[in-house]
Symmetry: D2
Subunit: 118 residues, 4 copies
């Protein structure tokens, strides 16, 4: 259902996609709607739509959700929506999501010591 | 509050951070908790925490949320959490988030025609 | 769009609706799905659907959302879904939502002193 | 941890709690913040906090969450927050939540036929 990925053409980088999203919104004059508050709300709404796929599934059913092409498409679609709003939110507030996550993992490594080897 | 970004050392890529998160979870033996359903729930919870920062703000207040260092740190922290769970979810279900978003923008370009030039 | 409310017949109480929901689920053999975790996820998903109605609206537009019959129906529909899952969650964990809220307001009255008269 | 429920004094009704919440907000001059959009966001945030309690639990662990007094208090606290924002949202938009749910169950009875007796 998704466009076939050309094996010669790798997926774009996060920075490239961020630029593509900005161009997409500009071409539709959607920027006035893309305030930090609206984008944070939209991100939360889309995360809910991803969760909706799993809400009634047992752990066993959830583990094989990608075996059904229709469910798999829906999962990829909601992942894309969550990432799109996250990137647009980051653009609106001027945050580099990669640097933010890198710094957070640094902090978590201090906060949660690794389990000792057995 | 965040670790200063070394200007010589650029932020890692999304793929590198995905690997770092997997190593982090493995070192703490957290993988049994990282089912698709749990990670989708955690992603939704963290998106809610990001929204919480904005819930009582006027559009004007929300626009300057990064001017306050404490709020700015909180925003970067929640962005990191959302991205972390999104990447871990993608690992659990075998989805490439960059390819998923690229394909989604392709579909949206057909679905939402650009506004005509004035 | 909603069934007209018979002025002779007042809306049922929260306890009556809780019983009606339990009968509805039992008649469809949905109880196995109604675990606390699933119902908490469903509640969060429905709260997201309510928020979706407002996500791109300015405060001014949001203030008149009930003036449009279609939006008004959608709002009532999502309010119903949120309340339904909240009541079913409370049944699953044995919590009285009215007593829980009453006790919480008691605590909040101590936590947040009222503003002085001017 | 919650105030002991006086067995002589039953929990208030939903209508009484709605009035108590309105008085509480008025005494603190919080009404300007209680727009439909803000309250829908706050409701979603609180539903996320309720879900957070369950996000890493197995179905078995989730089923006994009320056996631990600290978890039980947290569940009641988040239930109260969700209900509080739902009622305040309903006040802001002029929706009767009991009538809305009653009408929705009517519609769902037509939409989802009951399972036949075996």
């Amino acid at each position: 259902m998704t466009a076939p990925q050309d094996p010669q053409q790798p997926a774009p980088t996060l920075v490239e996609l961020t630029g593509r999203l900005a161009g997409f919104a500009a071409a539709r004059r959607w920027q006035p709607f893309h305030t930090p508050k609206n984008l944070a709300a939209a991100l939360s709404v889309e995360a809910g739509e991803l969760l909706e796929i799993f809400q009634w599934l047992t752990p066993e059913q959830a583990a094989v959700v990608m075996d059904d092409p229709k469910s798999a498409h829906r999962v990829r679609d909601e992942v894309a929506d969550v990432l799109a709003y996250l990137l647009q939110f980051c653009t609106a507030v001027g945050v580099d999501p990669l640097a933010a996550l890198d710094a957070k993992i640094d902090r978590n490594e201090l906060r949660f010591p690794a389990a000792p080897d057995e």
